[in-house]
Symmetry: D2
Subunit: 360 residues, 4 copies
């Protein structure tokens, strides 16, 4: 099978680097185009990231020599069947840029937050809300786009708790209160990002904008489609406290939850999590984890360094499920923020789109 | 004024070292006796801690040459008017040891958890429950002790949230639900304590026994005396999740709280905290912080390295007070775990006992 | 091809865990036997390492259910064609244990330091001294061993500088002075190993016994065989200063070197390093890196987190070659201490032995 | 005694903050003026550093409300008897700025590297080269300055090894070769400075410009005055390798040294170091450490977190003196880079100038 040619916008940043690493040897997609800011444009990719490549594996051979293009030059991406977008600019600029690609007939699979609250743009987690893809024709019609469209992914922080909550909802145990405290990895802030003076013998109990996203985005993901728009779900109340800790990759969340109705037993919850599978597993998408939710029995897990790479960084690892003295149950969730929470999640979105025929 | 001669049991451990550092040049107390396990007994203190002294300041001159005694030899402590106890042994052994000192007429001001649930032993935070000292005569009578008695301090983890909660209760705003997630420093586990392999690029979402203490001890501290016993308070429900993070000193707590009755405004809460003072401030105890609660307006504080030393490590620093989507309000609290949470707290307890005439 | 059945002695420790991870899916060897201390004996491997498994990947499926044996029971290993030894005991005990296996006809490929200075036991780095295997028949004859024998590997610290030095020697540029300062990862000390209190906001400028090994072992590795014994080389003087730093894996060495005779140019040295290959590459051993020495041009490399995994952790990464104001040249070398420096190195030794017919 | 009014140029940066902390309650100097870049000018100091104050102690009360001035407005500093300069700009700009203050009659005590190689500007370590102050009249005459002049301090990295080398030279044991590997704290790079992604589970074996300064500056400090200029010393050859490690404060140096002539015994060296005192001790300057060199016998010291605060951060702590297999001896030196190596060193320079009458 011939691989589909794709591009990466924002290819020199942390998330862009992760996209390129994960797409090396991808069975369906082949990176043929890398774009970034005007400063990088014209250089070979290798040159453009000299001294800034942060991945543990080397720059993929086929990417090294690609000439970086200016992301603003949409026409230079015309060889791409679609692009991944992880550009770092003002939201308004990102929106305009992504619109320009879609208008030019190039679908955009975005990790950016710019279009997350556009009402006819799906905010996709393939295990949770594939039906939201149904708004794409509306999105295209309203804007006069032909082949182009935009799909986004949510913020990395909520990946550690939303899928396990959704699994319980699906099993007949709706939840209405969630109190979450996250301990988030520094890679989430990009490079150079967080200063080392803040991360040696220290933590920082604040991440700008993160709590709002952690509290609000789940509503849209769990929402319903009405008249071609996604109407956010409102039952589930979330209170999030987000901290930065000296960890390279892997966001940990301490979660307390209250059920809206009947309350399952501890064993029932663990069984539901362990048996949970969804559309990506049924479709056998190349990046889909066999088990999206891994529950560990050890009393001191999950831990970021030891569990973030579960199922190649695409599984969410859970542990410490126990009763809560204030709400019903407590647990710990962990996900790899630059794989499941960013580039890996974006690739899984693209795989779902491909499987559903959106790139035909 | 001649200083009161005191001893430190468990003088070679982390908390013992902190006691000795803080007592250097203390205006009321003078360390004349250091005791530890039989392995250390007979060595000079300097020798006994060679390669294990963890404090940033050097071993106090007057302590260096003291010969370490076997803590089991109670009679060797007879020159002490009282002893600080921070021995690390099985609880049963600690209880027996502390009882032996009290029986020999030597009061024990303990940091150990052994006697925390003995019903006529006060678990003291001088800003909160000085009236609990009233059980001491009962304690002595029941056991036939003359001059000896035992007072303990609570676990370090709750220091970051209990005093601000108490301040609100005192101001007429009782609280009935508390959801706490702590991020605790490695010094809390002693030396060698936590393995570096668990603390480089990692956190551990579990500390053995810590959640139970964090949830249960506040009940006794806020309790009432009936028939010479402390009857725990039961209104306040606490759910605690305790994590270990790569920080040397300073426990951070992310707290959500729900008021039992009327709910103060944000400004009112901050005012109450900033104006809070109590018995140690009235009595001008030497180690009492002028402001037990410090509220910082910056959005990213408190932080362990930058705030733990507020008021010489005896103040609790608060910040980020804001509404909670699930309970009423959220905030962050931070305290120095080996000063306010251990040795400094123990010394403040002793100062209160002295001021109240218990060492006369 | 049927895989050779092998055992791992000391399978529950850090190095043992790494052996098991690396041997999962090995083309030549299959782990059929795991042995450890009497405390672990009788448990399944999974149980025996519960809460202590430190690898990023899960316990290999085929090993999980193996029942751990007591390493002292040699007869239980009789199904193994040979064993890897990484037991952690007193040297004398290790020597006796390894001798017992060899005497029972089971060859021992050891990572332990116990037999490193036994004069007829090769201390093997397959890229440097394969001819030392010639002493094995002498070793067997002297002790009356038939099929059994012992081969050891050197200390992890010297892997970061000895191969590049040897490559220069081979190319006709002998060296006679080496000043080395290492910055070593905490995994080198095992688990729990180094206390986190020593590794948060700190480094430790000392590692017990490490400097002696770093200075002395290269002499034997570069030695000559005379009368069935390895006679250490004496020209090369090494001065080593070993530090512990808060890095999980990867030993970095800052090296200054002085040539005994003529001095190559910088370009010549880099060319020699980049072109260097040896016996493992010629024999295409499964774990042999294609390029044992990788030279990076960036001014701030090698770095442990970014370079330790080069060629699956089996390559040594070099950088910053420049003139030295005191000796001739300076450079930085880095190797993965638990892969190239321990388990990976041990496996490469076994692969060389297999290729040379020692297991026929 | 009335305190001398002083200013701090570059008051909002890391070194500026340290100056203000150390000058709180200084017996001779009182900060009356704080200046920084135009962006900070016009704000209160408290406002100007909001969210960027990095010290463990709070902003000094008397400084909080000072209005920050634009450092380029020399005339606004006219109330200062002299200024400390730690501005962070291009060297050329710093030189011009410092010249402007001197020309306006305001002496400059600088931590910047801009004027370090101006031949009639002393690069001062008060324990080593107070006679270099003799060039000040020449400096003034040549430029037509009346009361103004410039004195600088050297780079922080060499503080960990130069004083012990000088002590040996003074005692009759000149040294001609020095091989140094430093492990430097992140505070040396300012804030935000080093990215946390480079300092979690990592070290960086390179610091731009640092090796050159570490190798070259000692020559000027040890130089002789001829014709009103400082002529660098040339005997001592230094080779420095500088690494960045995840430590907040405290530069560690592993040093090997070769004596030019006779070689003292180990005991002799330790005695010389322990007995070493110099001009600041004789003059009893307020910031002078009683013992500039502290030698520790423990095999694993000095360590940054435990030793950097020796003598309030003004002493250099030494340890691990032992023979070297390549040069003569090896040892480890450690100094606090933002106290002795920056602000504390600058204040000691000013104290020496005051004591010598340069501010009369």
């Amino acid at each position: 099978m011939k691989r589909i040619p794709v591009g990466v916008l924002g290819a020199t940043g942390m998330v862009g680097q992760r996209y390129l690493s994960l797409l090396e040897n991808h069975p369906w997609f082949e990176v043929v185009h890398v774009a970034a800011s005007p400063q990088s444009a014209g250089k070979s990719y290798e040159e453009a990231v000299r001294g800034r490549w942060q991945m543990e594996s080397p720059i993929p051979q086929n990417v090294k020599k690609l000439v970086v293009k200016d992301a603003a030059h949409v026409e230079e991406a015309k060889s791409c069947r679609f692009v991944f977008s992880c550009v770092e600019m003002e939201k308004e600029q990102v929106r305009n840029l992504e619109n320009a690609y879609a208008a030019a007939g190039i679908p955009v699979v975005s990790s950016s937050s710019a279009h997350r609250w556009t009402e006819d743009v799906p905010m996709l987690i393939p295990e949770i809300n594939p039906p939201h893809l149904d708004v794409i024709p509306e999105q295209q019609k309203k804007r006069g786009w032909k082949r182009g469209f935009i799909v986004v992914k949510p913020n990395c922080s909520l990946q550690s708790y939303l899928a396990p909550i959704y699994a319980l909802e699906q099993a007949g145990y709706p939840i209405n209160q969630l109190l979450v405290t996250t301990m988030q990895a520094v890679s989430g802030a990009g490079y150079p990002g967080v200063a080392s003076l803040d991360m040696v013998d220290n933590i920082v109990p604040f991440i700008g904008g993160e709590e709002e996203k952690s509290e609000k985005e789940p509503g849209k993901i769990l929402g319903k489609i009405e008249n071609g728009k996604i109407i956010p779900h409102t039952r589930l109340k979330i209170s999030a406290h987000c901290n930065r800790v000296p960890v390279v990759d892997g966001h940990t969340a301490c979660v307390s939850m209250k059920f809206a109705g009947k309350k399952p037993t501890r064993e029932e919850i663990i069984r539901i999590w362990r048996e949970f599978t969804s559309v990506p597993q049924e479709l056998k998408l190349p990046s889909a984890p066999e088990h999206p939710l891994v529950y560990r029995e050890e009393e001191n897990r999950p831990q970021p360094r030891k569990d973030r790479d579960a199922e190649k960084g695409m599984a969410i690892t859970l542990g410490r499920l126990r009763e809560c003295n204030v709400l019903d149950y407590r647990f710990v969730g962990l996900s790899h923020n630059t794989i499941r929470g960013a580039a890996g999640g974006g690739i899984l979105n693209a795989e779902l789109l491909k499987a559903k025929g959106f790139f035909d």
